[in-house]
Symmetry: C2
Subunit: 477 residues, 2 copies
């Protein structure tokens, strides 16, 4: 390494340290999960965090999700990251899922599905391992690309805010660093990483932006990436403030109505809504929709414009239909957001055929079980949200599948003590009408799996396990 490289190298490291301090990303003694894909960004992130590990007394683990989206290359990356973690002596937590096979509840491109599944996995692991932070390797380039993509597709201030430096447990220490600087840092410090072949195809929109549009924009302004990152930062400040103000007014606008908040209706005092500035009401409307559907996909700014038109119209009554079964209507002094009431399935309880297939027709679900013999350990490391493995010999038979009952409790995997299943649903944002459609697997008095959502701690596969029961949920609709 040349002296010049070291000088330079220090510059980037110092910039990252400054970002960490500025956004209070780390506290002394934090347990940090580092999300490592194997690419330059996340490998350098791991390297940087190892550099400052002692300063903050960090407890670092590496987490990796194999999306099976690039065949053998995906498996190669998995092994690369696992070996890297072993070499530097930190714990590795990996999982393999098959994104191309996952049918998303909300639709979306494979990239979007992969993203959703990945974040869910990171959060689950963080909960399981009691991690304080989850660090991801997003760079200033990711920031600029994200904002440009949203700008092109159509967005509002929220979208212009881009990727946050900190959101919940997630921290992005490299978000102020350009990718080229990260690559130079890797080179100067002899850090190895893998190349992601999907990055150099123009198959995906992000890659088009990266390889086709950004170089053109750079001709207009060489500092384009930095300027967009700055815009994102000021936009996120503005959005945060407006969100907080809207939050306050949301509560008073509901309080002004005589009808309480329910899971199928949000009723506002129309006069109160009319007295507020549209900068706040537009955000209040999104809150109401989020309350009803836990999700804003399919809702665009022109829907919000429609609601404004409805309010400002002179007729005392009126109604508009939004996607996802949301209806907004005004009725004299009230403005109502409602969603259709989805029939809740009747409760069910059935003994699982082991081995074999059990159909639960009213849920359009099949539960397939099989008995496997353990040949080597670690075999059941990879799994899927719809598959779970249990130590056959620790189960109490018959194993049952049944619907959720008020008061259900279980011990989640990796935890001691018990937790309400209802709280798990709330944490996972499972809508009310889907809770009764979720099969719960019981073994004796214990709930061993809230299928597709979280497995229990009972009957873990561990050193010494001889026979394994594999349970798989297959949705047939």
């Amino acid at each position: 390494m040349h002296i010049l490289d070291m000088q330079w190298d220090k510059t980037m490291l110092n910039q990252v340290k400054k970002t960490i301090e500025r956004f209070n990303m780390l506290k002394n003694g934090d347990r940090v999960l580092v999300a490592v894909s194997g690419g330059a960004d996340s490998v350098v992130l791991l390297h940087v965090l190892m550099e400052i590990k002692d300063k903050y007394s960090l407890d670092i683990a590496v987490v990796h999700l194999n999306h099976s989206m690039r065949g053998e290359e995906s498996d190669r990356d998995f092994v690369f990251v696992k070996n890297l973690a072993e070499r530097i002596g930190v714990r590795f937590i990996g999982k393999k899922i098959n994104v191309p096979e996952i049918k998303s509840e909300h639709g979306g491109s494979p990239q979007e599905v992969a993203r959703r599944v990945r974040y869910r996995f990171f959060e689950d692991v963080a909960r399981e391992y009691n991690a304080d932070k989850i660090a991801t390797g997003h760079t200033l380039d990711d920031q600029a690309e994200t904002v440009i993509m949203r700008f092109i597709k159509g967005t509002s201030l929220r979208g212009m805010s881009g990727i946050p430096f900190v959101r919940g447990k997630f921290i992005r220490p490299l978000l102020n660093i350009k990718r080229e600087d990260i690559e130079s840092y890797a080179k100067a410090n002899n850090i190895k990483f893998v190349e992601d072949s999907s990055n150099i195809s123009t198959k995906y929109f992000r890659n088009k932006v990266r390889l086709e549009l950004l170089p053109l924009l750079k001709k207009y302004n060489p500092k384009i990436k930095e300027e967009i990152a700055r815009l994102a930062e000021s936009a996120s400040r503005d959005e945060y403030y407006l969100e907080k103000e809207a939050e306050k007014e949301y509560k008073t606008a509901i309080a002004g109505s005589t009808i309480p908040l329910s899971d199928i209706k949000v009723v506002f005092n129309l006069e109160k809504i009319k007295s507020l500035h549209t900068a706040l009401t537009t955000r209040i409307f999104l809150k109401a929709i989020e309350h009803l559907k836990q999700d804003l996909s399919g809702i665009y700014s022109y829907h919000v414009e429609d609601i404004i038109d409805l309010i400002e119209g002179s007729a005392p009554q009126g109604e508009i239909n939004l996607p996802m079964g949301i209806t907004v209507y005004k009725e004299y002094e009230k403005l109502v957001f409602a969603r259709e009431r989805i029939p809740v399935p009747k409760s069910f309880e059935t003994v699982l055929n082991i081995p074999g297939v059990t159909s639960i027709d009213k849920l359009k679900v099949q539960i397939k079980t099989s008995i496997l013999t353990v040949s080597k350990s670690g075999e059941f490391l990879y799994d899927d949200n719809n598959i779970a493995y249990f130590d056959y010999d620790k189960l109490v038979f018959p194993v049952m599948a049944r619907s959720f009952r008020a008061g259900d409790r279980f011990t989640p995997f990796g935890m001691k003590g018990s937790k309400k299943v209802k709280d798990l649903f709330i944490e996972k944002k499972v809508p009310f009408y889907l809770r009764r459609s979720t099969p719960i697997i019981a073994s004796g008095d214990d709930l061993i799996w809230v299928a597709g959502i979280r497995r229990g701690d009972k009957a873990r596969v561990e050193e010494g396990t001889k026979k394994v029961l594999k349970i798989e949920i297959i949705r047939t609709s």
Copy 2:
């Protein structure tokens, strides 16, 4: 005209009417100046306003500024618009200036200088003719281009808000209409317009955006222009709300200080500033700078970031220098924005040499006068902010040049009654330190010209004028 054309034609007209109503652009009986360049957009705007003239009982006049930036083509456009106005029977108010020769006080490209001069001219004419509104032909394409240009150069929420539908007297009834729809409308209704050759060169950044970048972006999203216009609209709502909140807090943050607001210092209560969200303080800082300099050119978002860093730093004192001679310093419980005190020139008074040149050395100004003979009327229609023409025979001699005195009053051109010169300075946002550098031309007891800013009504050149006194201000530094 085909029936199909007429159908279609009505659609655009209805869209414009909707925009006019939605933004309350017109009141019954409004006097409207229509800014017509001669291009399709502004000519169609004039046509549309003539269509709804009777509905609103509008009094319409056409205003045109010849920037002399495209040689003969500029003069051709002038004549085209003048003839158009005559043909449809509305008053025409035209002026020719030489933008390439104007040295802008703040610098900037010829386009920026032209824009500044043009708006100032429109405002002056509106004041002179007591117009209620000034309509400009900005389209949805202008909106998208403006926002994209700012996005590329670096901006904040304020910049993303784009061109406002309404700002003061200015209204933009076509801001929701695409240029292609305007051109089709012109074709369907057989409306003639002139082509601006600068539009089809890629000489200027806006044209590059229009001809090179937008077509590429359209491949990513065919509705890109509409989406950007929507972003601008929601951004302007958010910005308006944040501005209002910042305005309130600006006042309380100053009130919290024991030192009164002055023209060279804005003193904030630091604790109060620290208690506010950065979404507001960033805007408060810009207000302070605007108070001191009447202008934010040269101030970028990284300057605002520097001020935030200054405040958040742990040292009780500190100072940073911004462009335009602004210093920001914190001093224990105070945060101070200050500009250097510019020495005010001593007062002066001198008789003008007629004809001849009079030098006022301390101002670095020469005043050149000449006596002209009138051959045909309308000759003195074109003028320049630094040149004024007077009826020689109506003047009282000697004609004097002197500095501003508290209490000075005059009768502005086209008005009856008198007005304080001080109020004119305030209206025109002439900073305190420049007021004493402005030569005021007096003839007997009357002030006939606040040079470079506004001429008086006395000694107008009119029908019957034989001899004209031309006075020209030449800045020599």
